[in-house]
């Protein structure tokens, strides 16, 4: 299982670590070891257990069983402070900085006792020294709000180094960075490793792991499926480890291509959409969805999927290209114009977008139909008919855990998703747009959601499915597309599917031809 590439001394060891949440093991007997002076990649799909492992190491969670050893001695963390004292520093995806404070002030934030009494001038001096030593340029007297995202991240790293961290955990550090900034970050990471720090790099971007780590550990379903020397492996092998190749053949068999060549329901041409920060998120993507067909779009999150979905749903402005929905050009029309009446949309964010979290299930089930007969007439709601409708849907879709008068936020993820599906699928629609529809759901709910999606296509609906769960895409889709950097970079039918190549495309690599 283990290959040592660098004759480093073992600084951190995780032994048989198990951590469950309500009976579901997020980490299942995980073994992990980290050497002094190495950059160790932690790779896995969403839900593979990367964050849980890191949170245990950072002292945020206590393991159910298993041990963490540092420098040959077992340790127990009661709080992140304990982990910090043992030299473990974590840099989260979402920064924890006070934006109205200066860089130096953020360094001493939260320090206790004697450490706190140093003068700010001394702190600034030390920050400068650390910054030049590791190539993490930041002006210590600058206020955090003045800094770019990349600079703020450097502040976070410096803060951990300032506190004497020997082991740094970087959780998806490039998710928020532009490519040049990411290169800079990896330069700094390398310098840290050269100066005997150990870095755990959490990522689901294979390319990043391959070019910046010494060893890589792949997690799948809460288990360590292997630790390899980075130079001895390749993207295709890692992709297979991440996805798990053993259940592929069966999954492909399940795909029954129902190519009823009916009308073109959705046709997207050269779509360009800007992201939240004004940079191009969707960059010339084209795709078609035909009635009765499930088109699955695979890809690593953050490659323009969200913006693409929002553009289809009329919730984000289109910068270029066109969207034809049900034979009508809806490119410039927003969702409030009624142009999306033929769209059933299961958004990624269930509570908050798909559902109004503080409203009841009954109300949420008419969130889109409240203006229509029979739920309202002459602008007045008809509570008895609304309740009857809710009762019917609760039964048909097996939605559990709702109590009348209580907000839906109290229901479980699976039931929330069933509620959204119940509302969306029972409205007349040509296209079902589903984004990560089974993320975080248990097995039974996942099966139910997939069954509904398949049934929708069998009834002649067109389905556009986005998912980071590759096995889900493979199991459901008649056509599999790959999205990377805002473009559709690959297209397969179940018969032509090459999982290794698909993994490469997902990771952003170019494939010949």
């Amino acid at each position: 299982m283990e290959t040592t590439t660098k004759a480093g001394q073992e600084i951190l060891q995780v032994r048989e670590l198990t951590k469950s949440f309500y009976g579901v093991a997020a980490n299942d007997n995980v073994e992990f070891s980290l050497h002094r002076g190495e950059v160790h990649g932690l790779l896995g799909e969403n839900g593979a257990g990367k964050s849980t492992l890191c949170s245990v190491l950072a002292g945020l969670y206590r393991p159910d069983s298993g041990e963490v050893w540092i420098n040959g001695r077992p340790v127990q963390f009661r709080s992140p402070l304990d982990a910090s004292e043992q030299g473990i520093g974590m840099v989260y995806q979402h920064f924890r900085l006070v934006s109205s404070f200066t860089v130096a002030e953020n360094m001493v934030l939260g320090l206790k006792g004697r450490d706190r009494t140093v003068s700010l001038g001394q702190v600034e001096g030390k920050v400068r020294e650390l910054a030049s030593r590791y190539g993490l340029d930041v002006e210590p007297t600058a206020h955090v709000w003045q800094l770019s995202v990349g600079e703020q991240q450097r502040v976070e790293i410096l803060r951990q180094l300032f506190r004497g961290a020997q082991i740094l955990i970087l959780d998806e550090p490039t998710a928020v960075l532009a490519p040049q900034e990411a290169d800079r970050l990896f330069d700094a990471v390398r310098q840290m490793a050269d100066q005997d720090h150990s870095v755990i790099l959490v990522s689901h971007k294979m390319e990043e792991i391959l070019s910046n780590t010494d060893r890589v550990t792949v997690l799948r379903g809460g288990r360590n499926v292997g630790t390899l020397g980075t130079s001895e492996t390749n993207a295709a092998e890692l992709a297979k480890m991440m996805v798990g190749s053993e259940h592929l053949p069966e999954a492909i068999q399940q795909v029954v291509g129902q190519f009823a060549d009916k009308g073109l329901v959705l046709s997207v041409r050269e779509l360009e959409v800007e992201g939240d920060r004004g940079t191009p998120a969707v960059d010339g993507a084209s795709l078609d969805v035909v009635a009765g067909q499930i088109v699955g779009v695979a890809g690593v999150a953050g490659n323009g999927q969200r913006e693409f979905q929002q553009a289809i749903a009329g919730q984000r402005q289109v910068a270029g290209g066109s969207i034809m929905l049900g034979g009508r050009d809806v490119t410039r029309l927003g969702s409030a114009s009624g142009s999306r009446s033929g769209l059933a949309y299961v958004p990624e964010d269930r509570l908050g977008t798909g559902l109004a979290s503080g409203m009841t299930l009954e109300e949420n089930l008419i969130l889109k139909g409240y203006k229509e007969l029979p739920y309202s007439r002459y602008g007045m709601l008809r509570p008895r008919l609304i309740a009857a409708r809710a009762e019917q849907l609760v039964e048909d879709f097996d939605i559990r855990g709702s109590r009348s008068g209580l907000p839906v936020s109290l229901m479980s993820g699976g039931n929330l998703q069933k509620a959204i599906l119940a509302r969306e699928l029972t409205r007349p629609h040509d296209l079902l747009l589903a984004a990560s529809p089974t993320r975080g759901l248990d097995i039974a709910a996942t099966a139910a959601v997939r069954r509904h999606i398949r049934a929708d296509a069998e009834n002649g609906g067109a389905v556009l499915l986005f998912s980071e769960d590759l096995s889900e895409i493979i199991e459901l889709s008649d056509r599999i597309l790959v999205m990377s950097r805002g473009r559709i970079v690959g297209s397969y039918t179940p018969e032509t599917l090459d999982i290794g190549e698909l993994g490469l495309l997902m990771s952003g690599a170019k494939v010949h031809g």
Partner: protein, 370 residues
């Protein structure tokens, strides 16, 4: 084994709790207030009896209380509907002034021989329109440029106050009484005054109560109310469902302003009878925010809370006659606000006291989200 309290959030408390907690809050406010009154060398029981006698005991005290409660119900509703939608309209004060300005202007401009119901309808609607427009001045920048409505509505209060003062004290305007030797507003004609029910209590109270019930019904039972509730709960989800979020924001602020404007119109028509800045600027708009908060932004809850707070204010002069400083009234108001806010915690959380240390569920709620 040590006793330990565990606190867990709850969605909706049982009705017993919803009755017991506010009652306990009121009692606690009364007890603490009583202690302060005693410490100031006065008889607390005497003070409370005076408050009850002068505000609630008998037809005449009740009419005085209800007369003051009328504008408070309306400004309370104005704050309740806006705050519910998380639109922090603290400009009820200014919207009320503008309502009063336009209402008194209409009362003076419209021929005084038209039928009374028409006249009153005209000035109430005029006041509503003025309040709505004044709130709209803050609503549109809010909706389109995300201008902070706390600042804009607050600043517009001062603009409205200055404008109203200018009309009476700074100019020889249409509103001013030219014959009077000291600056004051021209008295509105008899046909523009709100008819009285009993003593000074006028029919404005009916308008206020109807407004409260109507608003409650609109929010609960109409598609418009559904949209308002959806937008106040989640803008994202509302946008997703195809609702026009900005137009809801603007319309709610306009309704809020209209209610405050009606309060101004009714004060002019029912109580003040002229545009009198010194009488009108008595913080009815701000008190409305307190009313709404104590009523937990419930439209029907606004009515009893407004009556209670009005009763306290009305009793001020009687307390003074007893030698108890009338400021005690503000103290009690503050205490009620404080204890009701504290009681909110017990409504939102379930507190149990156990003798063993309870097991805390660990982690982030069960999902191993990456």
């Amino acid at each position: 084994m040590s006793k330990r309290a565990s606190i867990s959030p709850r969605a909706r408390p049982p009705w017993t709790v919803r009755v017991v907690v506010p009652t306990a809050s009121l009692i606690a406010a009364a007890v603490v207030g009583g202690l302060v009154i005693s410490m100031s060398g006065n008889d607390a029981f005497e003070a409370y009896r005076t408050i009850l006698d002068s505000s609630f005991n008998g037809v005449r005290p009740l009419t005085r209380t209800m007369t003051l409660a009328t504008p408070l119900i309306l400004t309370g509703l104005a704050a309740a509907i806006a705050f519910r939608m998380k639109v922090w309209n603290i400009g009820g004060e200014g919207q009320l002034y503008m309502g009063a300005v336009v209402a008194s202007g209409l009362a003076l401009a419209i021929p005084s021989d038209i039928p009374k119901p028409l006249m009153i309808a005209a000035i109430v609607l005029g006041g509503a329109a003025a309040g709505a427009v004044w709130a709209g001045l803050a609503a549109i920048p809010k909706a389109y440029f995300n201008a902070d409505e706390v600042i804009t509505t607050l600043m517009l209060n001062f603009v409205a106050l200055s404008f109203m003062n200018y009309l009476i004290f700074g100019s020889t305007s249409f509103w001013k009484d030219p014959k009077s030797s000291f600056p004051q507003g021209l008295r509105i004609p008899e046909s523009a005054t709100m008819p009285r029910m009993s003593y000074r209590l006028h029919y404005g109270i009916i308008i206020a109560v109807v407004a409260a019930v109507l608003l409650w019904w609109v929010l609960r039972r109409t598609t418009y109310g559904f949209e308002v509730r959806a937008v106040s709960d989640s803008k994202e989800a509302s946008r997703y469902a195809g609702m026009r979020v900005n137009s809801k924001l603007i319309s709610v602020l306009a309704i809020s302003g209209a209610l405050a404007g009606i309060a101004g119109a009714i004060e002019v028509s029912g109580v003040v009878k002229r545009l009198d800045p010194t009488v009108l600027a008595s913080e009815l708009g701000f008190t409305g925010i307190v009313v709404a908060a104590v009523a937990r932004f419930n439209c029907l809850g606004v009515i009893p809370v407004a009556v209670l707070l009005a009763g306290l204010v009305v009793s001020g002069s009687s307390l003074q006659r007893l030698g108890i400083p009338p400021e005690i009234v503000f103290l009690l108001q503050g205490l009620i606000f404080l204890f009701v806010a504290a009681g909110e915690f017990f409504l939102a959380n379930k507190v149990t006291i156990a003798s063993t240390v309870p097991v805390q569920p660990a982690g982030n709620g069960g999902l191993a989200n990456e």
